[in-house]
């Protein structure tokens, strides 16, 4: 015979308990358990090699300290980006000149076989140039950035970053694990959206999904680094130039994190209300990574993967852009027509029609936004050979770019809608058209609002 649990009485009991409960019960309970464990260990565990035991603890006391945790993170980020910017310039220029040199021979070849102009335009000016630019501006920073990042990861520093960030996310009403999914977003937002499965609570998981896009992914790092080095540090030279460039990129990343936290906080107070749940994060011991192994793997896995993706998507996009830029309706091209149509709105955001169009056509992958933009500009007749970063800047300047255009493009890139792959993943994970739409519309509105604000502010103060 079974007596069923007296449900209403149990619920009654629960309410009774709740009335008694002090606010920080869980903390008190956990603290008592921890204290007991510690006391037991003090009695029963002895160490014959003290120094060895405390290595990790000693380092953790520094890396995760309340005082030093954040400054160290900031310095690490700045150093990584500084090395990336400083190291990428020369190989970028070398690659660009190399591709320019090859283009000369390609041109000769097409002339020798008497190829029609449209074929030469399509293949060399559209496809080849676009791809060449992508490779020369994207490969060097990636080949430096990813291995350094992987070294930090394998050394065991990244889990400490998550540990530090945990406090902030909890204050924002989100789950501490969101710091992990955010960290993953620095690599790829689409993968990070899948990784939010580690968060059990649907509410907190949705927060993590909706805000993941605000940190730059693989596809957007090169854009940020390139634009920052071309425009933000223009009046500086030498080491200062690199320093300013890196600072701007770091500021972008920090701004992205601030937006992530703010949006999480606002959502957790409104549409996704609730209290954050607890979790345990195991910090692995620090170990010296296998340096060459890590570098090799990061280069092969990440850099080549991203580059391949960029080229595979960029090549057809280059062709399409070139075609759109060379088919005339009346006396304007389709591309110019579209760009002109978008221009008034884009100008209000401190961008231009071509930039906005590049973002729209770049929906499938963030990697191709910059290439599409370049191809769009190139197709307007200002034919610039691929021969170095200076001429790259010239293309932008010829199209009326200022530092504000670069800043706003960086901001828009940082904040705008997630790429197509990410949106597909969001739909798969949430099974909801409504939330997928929110994941698209929310960042887009923020991107528009922020760039509009910056543009108008700059105009108001007359600093452009």
């Amino acid at each position: 015979m079974h007596a069923t649990v007296p449900q209403n009485r149990f619920e009654e009991l629960m309410n009774e308990a709740r009335a008694l409960t002090p606010a920080d019960t869980r903390e008190q309970i956990v603290a008592a358990i921890f204290r007991t464990s510690q006391a037991i260990c003090n009695e029963t565990v002895t160490y014959t090699n003290q120094a060895k035991q405390y290595e990790t603890e000693k380092l953790d006391r520094i890396f995760t300290s309340k005082l030093w945790g954040f400054p160290i993170m900031l310095v690490m980020l700045a150093v990584v980006i500084y090395i990336t910017v400083a190291g990428a310039n020369i190989p970028s220029s070398m690659l660009a000149s190399f591709f320019g040199w090859v283009e000369g021979y390609l041109t000769l070849f097409f002339q020798a076989i008497h190829a029609p102009d449209w074929l030469y335009g399509l293949l060399v000016l559209g496809l080849y140039r676009g791809t060449a630019w992508v490779v020369s501006v994207m490969l060097p920073p990636m080949a430096i950035f990813f291995p350094i990042f992987a070294l930090l990861e394998n050394y065991g520093y990244l889990p400490r970053v998550a540990f530090n960030m945990d406090r902030l996310f909890k204050k924002a009403g989100a789950h501490g694990k969101q710091s992990l999914t955010m960290a993953m977003g620095f690599g790829c937002n689409a993968a990070a959206v899948m990784s939010t499965r580690i968060i059990e609570s649907p509410r907190e998981r949705m927060l993590a999904i909706l805000t993941n896009n605000f940190v730059p992914c693989n596809g957007r790092w090169p854009t940020l680094i390139l634009l920052s080095s071309l425009f933000m540090a223009a009046s500086y030279t030498g080491g200062w130039k690199t320093f300013v460039t890196a600072s701007v990129v770091v500021a972008m990343v920090l701004f992205g994190i601030v937006v992530t936290l703010t949006v999480s906080w606002v959502l957790s107070k409104t549409a996704l209300r609730g209290i954050p749940t607890h979790y345990t994060l195991e910090l692995p011991p620090y170990r010296r990574p296998k340096i060459w192994d890590t570098i090799l793997r990061a280069t092969l896995d990440k850099s080549i993967y991203v580059l391949k993706r960029a080229i595979v998507v960029a090549a057809p996009a280059g062709v399409i852009t070139w075609v759109l830029g060379n088919i005339h309706i009346g006396d304007t091209t389709i591309l110019a027509y579209l760009a002109n149509w978008l221009d008034p709105f884009a100008k209000a955001l401190g961008l231009d029609g071509y930039i906005l169009m590049a973002f729209i056509l770049g929906l499938p992958a963030n990697e191709i936004v910059l290439p599409i933009l370049l191809m769009g500009y190139l197709s307007t007749g200002s034919l610039t050979e691929v021969d170095g970063l200076r001429s790259l800047k010239q293309i932008f300047v010829d199209h009326g770019w200022t530092w504000l255009t670069a800043l706003n493009m960086m901001l828009f890139s940082l904040l705008h809608y997630p790429c197509g792959t990410t949106l597909v993943n969001i739909y798969k994970e949430t099974k909801s058209k409504k939330w997928t739409f929110v994941a698209f519309a929310l960042p887009t509105s923020i991107a528009i609002a922020v760039t509009f604000f910056t543009a108008q502010l700059a105009k108001w103060f007359g600093i452009v």
Partner: protein
Amino acid sequence: MAMNEYTIALAGNPNTGKSTLFNVLTGLRQHTGNWPGKTVVHAEGFFTYNNNRYRMIDLPGTYSLYSNSADEEVARDFIIFEKPDITIVVLDATALERNLNLALQVLEMTSNVIVCVNLMDEAKKKGIRIDTKKLAATLGVPVIPISARNKEGIDTLLKTIDSMVLGKIKTNPITVRYSPEIEQCIEKLIPRVKEVIGDAYPARWVALRLLDGDMSLLRAFQQQPLPSVKEVSIYACHGPAKSI
């Protein structure tokens, strides 16, 4: 003579060699699947020792049993509702302090506990010495140092299991002392808990969970038919455990 069957639950933090021990004890006699209605892997295996048959459940590896996740709920519900005859808690000797947190939580839920301190070989290499006798005295339950992957200490473990099911071992689990504020609340609640759900569940632990506002436990209790006191004793000795 018919063999008695006993149920053993295996609890522990992730990466403590819990599954290694599970494999050493049960060999190939294992079934894996999912816990009913949950996407949590359920593994059970069988072994016999000294004319007794044992059914062993490898609970999901967790850091706590505070129902933060489906894993933790599964582990908690098994210990509370299925009442295994023995719960073995596997601890990592190289991180004893952190691992003890889980052991202390299990000891609040049941007194039929054996603590296995695994990875003793690795701890030795790192210069960590653990006084397991003292640990056993403090915790109030048997503590067996083992190295599952080297199959060291398994014999002692099996003998201890045998003694425990035969009632030759008397345990006296440590009670974690909470802040005076919490202790006062517990004291008030315990008589009420006993009144509502009887003696079938550890009253102090239930009181703590109530204070913690653990809604998932409320749901678990609502799904659970409460066995009458008489049935509990039969259940614990012979009854094949039902799934939750």
